[in-house]
Amino acid sequence: MNKYDVIVIGGGPAGLYAAGAITEGYKILVIEKDEKIGEPVLCAEGISNNTLKNFFKEDNLPFIRNRFSRMTVKYKDKKATIEIPDMELLVDRSLFDKYLADAAKKKNIEILLNTLVYDAELKDNCVLVKTDKQDYEAKMVIVADGVESYIGHKLGLETTCQLNDMYSCYQYHIQDDSINDDEIVFDFSPEFAPGGYVWAFPRGDKQANFGMGINAEMMKNRPVEILKSYKEKYYPNAKILREMSGCVSVNPISRIYGERTLIVGDAARYADPITGGGIDNALRTGGFAGQVASIILQEDNFSLKKMSMYHELVEKDNWYSIKRQLQLKKMMSEMSEEELDKFFASSLGLFDGKKVFSSDFYSTIYSLKSTIKTTGLLYNFLGSLMKDKYLLKIIMRLLWQ
């Protein structure tokens, strides 16, 4: 029969993790449009070590691509290098997604590949999920269809992304002798990536995910063109192994639940507003959606009020840092070039050559508490690059309490 307790629409990290987080014993189906879980990869693949520790307890995780210990931030002719031991790493997204899918399969979750969900409709006691193969019925759906966030719209939620919250991206997978496997590089020079940045994330073996994201509202030339000229300037001899386009949206949608519906991950626009990183929040929101779905199924109560528990849990978990980072993103996008020059000059000056620990931030911030908020922004900004949520929390508590 085509009836399920939960149908998860989209087999990326958010959807697979959500499915796996539902108590065993229910009939769960994940529907993925592509032929293979984890492919094609449209991702820069950076995650924080904290994310890894929070969500994966096993040793010898098969999807870790490379660990690195230095971060270089560039702005025009200035740059700063910071030691960030054990803070960030690169995953192999293909293996990462497969790992989550295998975990889900072990819990008897069905995964249906090569099937496109083109519509979903709320009925009296179920959601009708329409695919290009056949229709399905579910008591509730978890929508994880990524940046498009198409199905949420069909179910009556406002999922449209404003241009100002959208980053238009292009990425090469390159190989070059100049790549330092131990160093992650960000370049915020506005001449290349207005409102965004250029990145080089080391994959190991002198390879990198090298790309850029430009704020769609501020974009004059397309990233595909600018990345090409940036490469000619800074990595002239690099060999391009693969290229891909992508889009990253930030600024969570106003309501991430609806009748018999929970929206997770990129579809809920839960990406880091400064870095654009989406995996951490995909797992966070996915985990909460799974928890809430378990309660709803157990109590057999599909009321809107029960669904809203999910929104509450997500906001309690992470909303504080997302909200502050959105403020920072807004302030940065409104800065004139002169103001940006000052912002980055101070930012890079503060951090160059330092080894950064959470405790340093604590004492420094404490002494700076009475000074202008700009300093706080600098820390917020760099904390965000280091993807250390714990650090960010401390910083923001101190600055905005």
């Binding site: 498009e148 966030s149 999922t159 769609a216 397309r222």
Partner: protein, 58 residues
């Protein structure tokens, strides 16, 4: 004739156009984009595309 023309060679199927479309008239298949009825000609999909694969059909 559709208002938008897609250059299939360029399109990387990243979903950005679908994300910004206020009417969600673009459906992303595994290997192509489909434009359904209801386009309000806001041109946001053209604007956001990282590779310039979308243009007005003139």
């Amino acid at each position: 004739m559709d208002y938008i023309k897609v250059d299939k060679e360029k399109c990387g199927l990243c979903g950005g156009c679908v994300a910004v479309c206020p009417k969600k008239v673009i459906l992303m298949h595994k290997e192509h984009l489909e434009f359904t009825d209801g386009c309000i000609k806001c041109d946001r999909c053209i604007k956001v595309c990282p590779v310039g694969a979308l243009n007005k059909n003139e």
